[in-house]
């Protein structure tokens, strides 16, 4: 049966051999194309295929008080990231993650959508995981392709104080914020950035520098070790920020004011250091840390007492009678009055066809300059204000920093409002207002709006005779903010005596502010600012001097009633604590 002859035409043999050769040439040339002509391109591709850059988040700098107590700390948490391109069965991965961590898988899916940036950029899936959750995840690592975790330092507020308004909080960088940044590559989605307060103001100092580690990984995303020859960069922690805040004093003031809406600030006038900075109501800054921020945030937003508002720098209030000091300064500056000169206060004052009243309906009787301030007699100031021009009054206000921001290192400060003739003309028309309005302004009523921090600067300038330091919360060299040639030394003393009489005199409106400590001189001024929102705002601004040490304080209680009755006692407690013989105070180096 093997006899059948093999008769293959030569042509067919050649054709078949030709086909073999052609197919092999096709293969060879393709290999040649890939390995010789496209070598560089594929070499590069292979490099990025095996190397993964892992970012290491740098901890932010700590925030310390003037005694180096830690106010804002970091604590390590874990965040979970996923590389979208490597997570093939996302549903299943989220399910496994949910199983391991006990967190609903919807949250992973939500985060994935929120933080997704590109197919091979690690996308955050969850934050604030504990080491326990991570260790369970590690066991299921093989079922979680593309999923990684890394350490992520979160803010932690360890001290007894809230300080919510000056410390500020961090915000996660989302795509909108990121696109607004000058250099978007500096931030990854989910990074934390200082959003308010000092965290914002000192962002560049507090922010550390992210490190990069180049790891060799296999196709399952398992790390095989570091790669040599690449620029591995360690994470550089941010610089610590030391504040001028005295956390004990801050805690005391927060406690004293806990039932009110308002502000309390304590500062050192010479250097401008802020010792306490309270805006009430406030909240504990730890509320902004962690996973469920949105709910708490909304609760704060909806609170009608507006705890998110920083009343110290952005609250605008009529200054009330505390502004009589401005009028007094204007009078003294121009030497237009004789401080001994007395006028009679009967409780009412007729100006044109309008009747103005003193707060004391029976009147103060005969009132000189000192009594006018100490007992805050309206009638005295109604009369005296008429000796000066509107523009002089406005200029004095501007000289003492009203109507513009103080430049304190807290973001978003407001400048308030000091009416000028132009302003009045614009608002009421040229004939729509009269000097009668100026009478109101003399009492700190009407169109004037000031922020409590401006009042701090004001009282500091008064007590330093126009030589106060620029207000600041972060430790630094003193910057002076000098007001030249306001009053003669003699006139400053007259003013101070009057302010001290306000407290010392048993008729003085500020008598409740005196802690009665030997050698401690207290001076101040009450204010009871009428406003359309109910009871008047209670003000007390003042200073205390003992030996070399001088501090000032501004207390404002919204709708608190009389300044002397509600604000002054808080002031007293601050000074009683600060100047008690037991207290020791650190003087910051100001080289």
């Amino acid at each position: 049966m093997l006899k059948a002859e093999n008769l293959i035409p030569k042509g067919r043999y050649y054709i078949f051999s030709g086909i073999v050769i052609i197919l092999m040439i096709v293969l060879i040339s393709r290999f040649c194309y890939l390995q010789i002509f496209k070598y560089e391109q594929y070499k590069h591709k292979a490099e990025i295929n095996r190397i993964r850059a892992v970012t290491i988040d740098a901890p932010r700098g700590l925030i310390l008080d003037r005694n180096r107590n830690i106010l804002v700390d970091n604590y390590p948490t874990y965040i979970l990231t996923g590389i979208p391109g490597e997570m093939e069965d996302r549903e299943n991965i989220f399910y496994t993650l949910s199983y391991c961590t006990g967190i609903d898988s919807i949250n992973f899916a939500k985060n994935y959508k929120k933080y997704y940036r590109a197919k091979f950029v690690p996308t955050r899936l969850m934050k604030d995981l504990t080491i326990q959750q991570i260790s369970i995840l590690e066991e299921y690592k093989l079922d979680l392709p593309g999923v990684n975790y890394k350490k992520f330092p979160e803010r932690y507020y360890s001290s007894e104080i809230n300080g919510s308004h000056f410390l500020g909080h961090l915000k996660e960088v989302d795509s909108k914020i990121r696109s607004q940044m000058g250099n978007p590559n500096k931030f990854e989605l989910g990074d934390l950035i200082g959003w308010t307060g000092l965290e914002k103001q000192y962002e560049s100092q507090l922010r550390g520098m992210r490190g990069v580690k180049y790891l060799e990984v296999d196709a399952l995303g398992r790390e095989m070790g570091e790669v040599e020859g690449y620029n591995n960069r360690r994470a550089i922690p941010g610089n610590d920020l030391r504040l001028t805040i005295d956390s004990k004093l801050q805690a005391l003031l927060e406690e004293e004011m806990k039932n009110y809406c308002g502000t309390g600030i304590v500062s050192i006038p010479e250097s401008g250091e802020i010792l306490a900075y309270v805006s009430k109501p406030d909240y504990h800054p730890n509320l902004f840390v962690g996973k469920m921020v949105a709910g708490r945030w909304n609760k704060l937003l909806k609170n009608q007492n507006r705890p998110l508002l920083d009343r110290v720098t952005t609250g605008l209030y009529p200054p009330g009678s505390t502004f009589k000091i401005i009028t007094a300064l204007a009078l003294l500056e121009t030497n237009l009055i004789n401080p001994k000169e007395e006028i009679e206060c009967t409780g009412t004052y007729q100006f044109g066809n309008r009747t103005f009243k003193c707060w004391k309906e029976d009147g103060h009787g005969y009132v000189n300059f000192q009594k006018g301030i100490a007992q805050s007699c309206n009638i005295y100031f109604y009369q005296m204000i008429q000796k000066i021009s509107f523009s002089r009054w406005s200029n004095i206000c501007f000289n003492f920093g009203f109507g513009e921001i103080t430049g304190i290192d807290v973001a978003y400060e407001k400048s308030g409002l000091i009416p000028t003739e132009n302003y009045m003309n614009n608002k009421y028309g040229k004939w729509g207002w009269s000097r009668g309005n100026l009478l109101n302004l003399a009492l700190g009523q009407g169109d004037i709006l000031v922020t409590p921090i401006q009042m701090v600067q004001f009282i500091n300038q008064v007590v330093t005779h126009g030589n106060a330091g620029r207000l600041h919360l972060a430790e630094r060299k003193t910057q002076k903010k000098v007001i030249k040639n306001i009053l003669s030394k003699n006139n400053w003393e007259i003013l101070e005596k009057s302010l001290e009489a306000t407290v010392k005199n048993n008729q003085g409106t500020g008598r409740n502010a005196d802690p009665h400590i030997n050698g401690l001189i207290i001076g101040g001024k009450t204010g009871t600012a009428e406003n359309p929102h109910g009871n008047p705002h209670a003000w007390f601004i003042g200073y205390g001097k003992k030996g070399d040490s001088t501090i000032t304080s501004v207390i404002l209680i919204e709708n608190g009633g009389h300044g002397g009755e509600i604000a002054a006692p808080i002031f007293r407690k601050v000074f009683s604590y600060y100047f008690s013989p037991k207290s020791q105070h650190l003087v910051l180096n100001n080289p």
Partner: protein, 409 residues
């Protein structure tokens, strides 16, 4: 006397075939050694060691095939064919491995009958075509060869193993051609496949339709036959979408991403992209054995079997790839030449069939790793890991040495 006779006949064998296969096997073992874990207990289960162990039975198989008298093969091939068909059906009754019915579990080792079916079919076809002194003038004489080849192919396709099924069909064409079939008839045989393939886009389908008219006109059949051939093909083309839907999703995906692998870099095209990256980054001289980053970081899928060429390309470079392809070309051309010069028709057909089996494996496997045809799950002869296939390849070499006595010696 006996020994000298054996010696004498052995001397006449084309030794170059066995030499080529040993070189290729060594290259394969080298690359398998490179990707095997070099430490701890994993060594025993490494594909390198397995391959080395299988080399024993492979060489026994080769010697067996060399010395089995040719007439015995010729005599019993129909029975062997029947046994192989049963063997192909057997895996359906054993356990399902990795979603396929490809393996017969022999307890200690898995065994793939389909690997042996490839050349059994070829020999069976050779016997039929040589026995029946077919005039090959009639299209009807294609029917039985077609049946011989389509039955095992369909069983394998159902396993499912598309690659092996296609490879089983391929030798039919050159063997019919060798047996003297008219080119026009071969055209009629492959025309339906073209009709189906081109049907997915109007432009190639139109070109194909015009080409068909030209070829049919050149052959000048009767009007009715010509029209039937033409419209049957068009009809098949229109049925193509139905055929398409009958494919498994992964098969559809493989074909689709062939045209644009970047579309889905981590889906079906992942393998192609990773394989191309591995090969391209190897350059002329490669990264060195054991230095392939694509390979060792497991970016390459099924690297020890289907994608072994990517490992070689990455670690040993273009030089080694070119060497492998040259050796294969040499081997195949030698078998074709043996086939052309063999004295009897049966041997000639067996040799051309085996040559086309080698050619199709080499071409499909290489083309797949460099992304010019879809991923097809076909191993590279002598080089890819896989016991059954290694034994099968060495047995084919044995058959070549058996029937292909070099007449020029």
């Amino acid at each position: 006397m006996m020994i000298s006779q054996v010696n004498n006949t052995f001397y006449k064998r084309p030794m170059i075939v066995i030499f080529a296969s040993m070189v290729l096997t060594s290259i394969g073992l080298t690359s398998l050694f490179s990707i095997s874990p070099h430490h701890s207990s994993d060594v025993m289960s490494s594909s390198f060691l397995k391959q080395l162990i299988f080399l024993g039975p492979a060489i026994i198989g080769l010697i067996l095939m060399v010395f089995i008298p040719r007439y015995l093969i010729h005599k019993y091939i129909y029975i062997i064919y029947a046994i192989v068909l049963c063997g192909l059906v057997l895996p359906y009754f054993s356990q399902n491995v990795a979603g396929t019915n490809r393996w017969i579990d022999l307890g200690f080792i898995g065994f793939q009958p389909s690997e042996f079916a490839k050349w059994v079919i070829v020999i069976c076809l050779a016997r039929y075509l040589s026995d029946h002194k077919l005039k090959m003038r009639n299209l009807s004489s294609f029917i039985i060869p077609f049946i011989i080849i389509i039955i095992p192919a369909l069983i394998v396709l159902k396993q499912p193993d598309l690659g092996t099924a296609l490879v089983m069909l391929i030798p039919l064409l050159p063997m019919l051609y060798w047996a003297g079939a008219k080119s026009y008839h071969l055209f009629l045989l492959i025309a339906p496949f073209f009709s189906i393939l081109t049907a997915f886009h109007p432009l190639p389908f139109s070109i194909w339709a015009i080409l068909m008219i030209l070829i049919i006109l050149l052959e000048k059949p009767s009007l009715i036959v010509g029209l039937i051939v033409y419209f049957t093909n068009l009809f098949l083309g229109l049925l193509a979408p139905v055929f398409w839907n009958s494919l498994k999703e992964y098969q559809q995906k493989r074909i689709l991403t062939l045209f644009n692998p970047e579309l889905d870099p981590l889906g079906a095209a992942y393998q192609i992209i990773q394989s191309q990256t591995a090969i391209g980054s190897g350059g002329i001289f490669g990264k060195g054995i054991g230095e392939g980053t694509q390979t060792h970081l497991k970016f390459l899928p099924v690297q020890e079997s289907d994608f072994i060429l990517s490992v070689i390309g990455e670690e040993m470079g273009f030089v080694c790839i070119a060497l492998i392809i040259l050796i294969f070309t040499w081997l195949i051309l030698t078998i074709v030449k043996l086939s052309y010069s063999s004295k009897d028709r049966f041997s000639g057909l067996v040799l051309i069939g085996i040559a086309s089996l080698f050619l199709s494996h080499v071409f499909v496997n290489s083309a797949m790793t460099i992304g010019i045809i879809p991923v097809k799950g076909l191993p590279l002869p002598f080089i890819s890991a896989g016991g059954s296939f290694l034994i099968s390849c060495f047995m084919m070499v044995g058959i070549v040495m058996n029937v292909g006595v070099d007449s020029h010696d």
